[in-house]
């Protein structure tokens, strides 16, 4: 990987409070446009690591670069204005309207009013919040899911290349959380933002992460793709965190049907969309009691086929 493809470079970073190291010599790099999820139990140092990237926590040792620039080379406030930051429980300012909340960083950067207004409306629409209805509302008038969306919109307001998220979906119920995760993936793809997200929820890590970093007691145990974390856990703790129960299904949930399909075959009565996961395809076929199904694209045209035998093969340990 060339240097220009690396957005965030963390090299030998350590944070000590007195004698205890909360983050102990951690190195990892996040490619431009990727979502890296840092997962670990509470007290693993995952939040501290992320908060060192925007210098909310000063490092004891090591070096961090964002976009090829050492984070210590510019003033902390200037660095932070260039990095999106979203936290658990949204952190919206209760005395400011939705529009004023989203406008926080653009205002600090001295954007003119019409540009700020245009950007606020654009973001609200992007997050499925009608600008005319939501602009003037106060955070307490929103539902939990809406507050969370405004929180992410605020973090993205000035179009940062990097977005740091500290347990952003922690306060949401499971249904809204799944929706929020899908929204994040869609918006991240659209903007090409590089995301570092902290969570204690392994399922969330598998759902969102292009890469997963597993931390425990301040040390980075493994940093790899979700498939690799599942198939080759580097440490008993990583295996314990991912769990051995259902790991075949977890692995299958990571790839879309299109990646495992076989050539098209005639006379298949039932069709599955190409973008459902292998796991969902398996579930659907068990439910309907069919041995083979067609794989269809968005226009319902057959582009391949999938059989039960093939699916079971794909779920095997790589």
């Amino acid at each position: 990987m060339s240097a220009s493809d690396t957005m965030i470079e963390i090299a030998g970073v350590t944070k000590r409070y007195g004698e205890t190291a909360v983050v102990d010599d951690v190195s990892l790099s996040v490619p431009r446009g990727a979502i890296a999820v840092i997962v670990g139990t509470s007290g693993s140092g995952k939040s501290t690591l992320v908060r060192m990237i925007n210098r909310l926590v000063p490092m004891t040792g090591g070096k961090i670069s964002v976009g090829g620039r050492d984070i210590m080379s510019l003033p902390a406030t200037e660095l932070r204005r260039g990095i999106g930051y979203a936290i658990q429980g949204h952190g919206l300012f209760p005395h400011r309207t939705v529009a004023a909340n989203i406008a926080t960083v653009p205002q600090l950067l001295g954007w003119d009013r019409t540009r700020i207004e245009r950007r606020v409306d654009e973001l609200l629409a992007l997050f499925n919040l009608d600008p005319a209805a939501f602009r003037g509302k106060y955070p307490h008038e929103l539902s939990g899911g809406q507050q969370q969306r405004v929180g992410v919109a605020r973090a993205l307001a000035a179009g940062p290349e990097v977005l740091l998220m500290d347990e952003p979906f922690g306060a949401l119920d499971p249904v809204i959380r799944g929706k929020a995760q899908d929204d994040l993936i869609a918006i991240q793809k659209q903007f090409g933002t590089t995301v570092i997200l902290v969570t204690h929820d392994m399922d969330e890590a598998f759902h969102l992460g292009d890469r997963i970093a597993v931390m425990s007691e301040g040390r980075l145990l493994q940093y790899a793709t979700p498939e690799k974390i599942l198939a080759e856990p580097a440490d008993p703790f990583v295996q314990q965190l991912t769990g051995t129960a259902g790991r075949a299904l977890k692995l299958m949930s990571l790839s879309p049907l299109k990646e495992g399909m076989e050539p098209p075959r005639p006379d298949l009565a039932y069709g599955l969309a190409q973008n459902v996961s292998l796991r969902d395809a398996l579930s659907e076929m068990i439910w309907r009691g069919i041995e083979e199904a067609a794989v269809e694209d968005g226009d319902k045209a057959q582009i391949g086929s999938i059989s039960m035998r093939r699916l079971l093969q794909l779920g095997r340990r790589p």
Binding site: R51, L56, T77, R80, R81, Y85, G91, P94, H95, V105
Partner: protein, 393 residues
């Protein structure tokens, strides 16, 4: 299943509980205490006249009728609006009646004779005031409607004062002989009260912020200020006299600024000292009440420390800080009266002159405006606090 309602419960529900208490108090006062006291001169023992004995006067008769109506409304009416209207009308009539009755019972041609309101008048004033304010509370007025209500009652009082209706009353006779001094003392009272609070805000706000930022400082500062708060006001005035007169005697600049052991300087300093604790304490509590994740989010987005303070912390802590300022302002308006003892200006001058001369009417001339001022300030600041809280809870 609905629990069975007994006859007794129905009866108590039909009759308003507050109404029972207020009616009992009003009725007892009218029966047992005089409505006015007529004295040959301002310090002589007076002749008490109960309301019943004055029933020959049209105004007193009308008042008695209205009091009965009000009593019935207080006991049985469920409409806050109706109770408010009746209580306000009767309140106006009470003040009108005391003016007309005192004019009527004053011996003709006598300038020395004094007619003072008696116990019945004061109790009725309190009862009707409580009835009206209870109705106002039940109407759930918006904060600014409450200020408007206060302005209405103030205007009502001003009409009575300016029309000369109350001129025969002893307290107004005391006022008539001291109109100029009254104006000066009123200005002095306001300047001392509001000035000391303004200075206290300027000192206490930064001190409170500092105490919040530096926890080690917090306990020391708050304990020192609590200690000051426990010193009786008279003792504090006395304690300040010594260093200030020393300063005046040895530092010419201090003397030329008007700093002396007695007078405005020690009064102002003492009032400022008393005002510090509530504002500092409420600033600390208010800032502590701000959700720390907001500070984290703000800092993480690149607000400077000063921006976090002025844009996040202070606006969110403001209602709590304002509550402290409200406490301090009401306290200062009351305490200024004591400052008169060491030569400060204010309504306290009349209170202490009146006490010295055993002229209770003169005491009232100092006490009544002080109470009205403190009450109005509290209502206005409460409205401000509620309107801020209401807009962003």
């Amino acid at each position: 299943m609905e629990p069975p309602v007994t006859q007794d419960e129905r009866a108590t529900r039909a009759v308003d509980r507050l109404g029972i208490v207020l009616c009992a108090a009003g009725a007892a006062a009218v029966a047992l205490t005089p409505f006015v006291i007529v004295k040959a001169n301002r310090i002589a023992a007076g002749k008490p006249m109960p309301l019943a004995a004055l029933a020959g006067q049209p105004a007193a008769l009308a008042l008695i009728v209205m009091l009965v109506v009000t009593g019935l409304a207080a006991l049985f009416s469920r409409s806050a609006r109706a109770r408010l209207v009746v209580a306000t009308l009767t309140l106006g009539l009470l003040i009108l009646a005391i003016g007309l009755v005192s004019a009527a019972v004053t011996p003709p041609g006598s300038t020395a004779a004094r007619v003072t309101p008696g116990g019945a008048f004061w109790v009725l004033l309190a009862v009707l005031g409580l009835l009206a304010s209870d109705a106002l509370v039940k109407l759930r007025l918006t904060p600014w409607m409450r200020v408007a209500a206060l302005a209405f009652y103030g205007a009502l009082l001003a009409v009575f004062l300016l029309s000369g209706t109350l001129d025969s009353l002893s307290i107004m006779k005391e006022f008539a002989t001291r109109a100029d001094q009254f104006r000066n003392e009123a200005v002095g009272h306001l300047l001392l009260a509001f000035g000391s609070v303004a200075i206290a805000i300027l000192l206490a706000l930064p001190l409170g912020i500092l105490c919040f930022w530096v926890p080690k400082l917090r306990a020391a500062v708050l304990q020192t200020l609590s200690l000051i708060q426990t010193i009786p006001s008279l003792a504090l005035f006395g304690l300040l006299m010594l260093p200030l007169s020393y300063l005046a005697a040895h530092v010419p600049l201090a003397a030329s600024l008007g700093i002396r052991g007695i007078g405005t300087a020690p009064a102002l300093i003492a009032l400022v000292l008393y005002s510090l604790l509530p504002i500092v304490a409420n600033t600390v509590v208010g800032l502590q009440g701000v959700d720390p994740t907001l500070r984290d989010a703000a800092t993480g987005m690149g607000l400077t420390r000063r921006q976090v303070l002025t844009r996040i912390d202070l606006p969110l802590a403001f209602p709590v800080i304002l509550t402290g300022i409200r406490v301090v302002l009401v306290q200062a308006i009351g305490l200024v009266t004591v400052a008169a003892l060491i030569g400060g200006s204010g309504f306290g001058i009349f209170i202490f002159q009146g006490l010295g001369q055993t002229a209770m009417d003169l005491v009232l001339l100092g006490a009544v405006p002080t109470v009205l001022l403190a009450f109005s300030s509290a209502v206005v600041l409460d409205a401000v606090i509620d309107s801020i809280r209401g807009s962003s809870p």
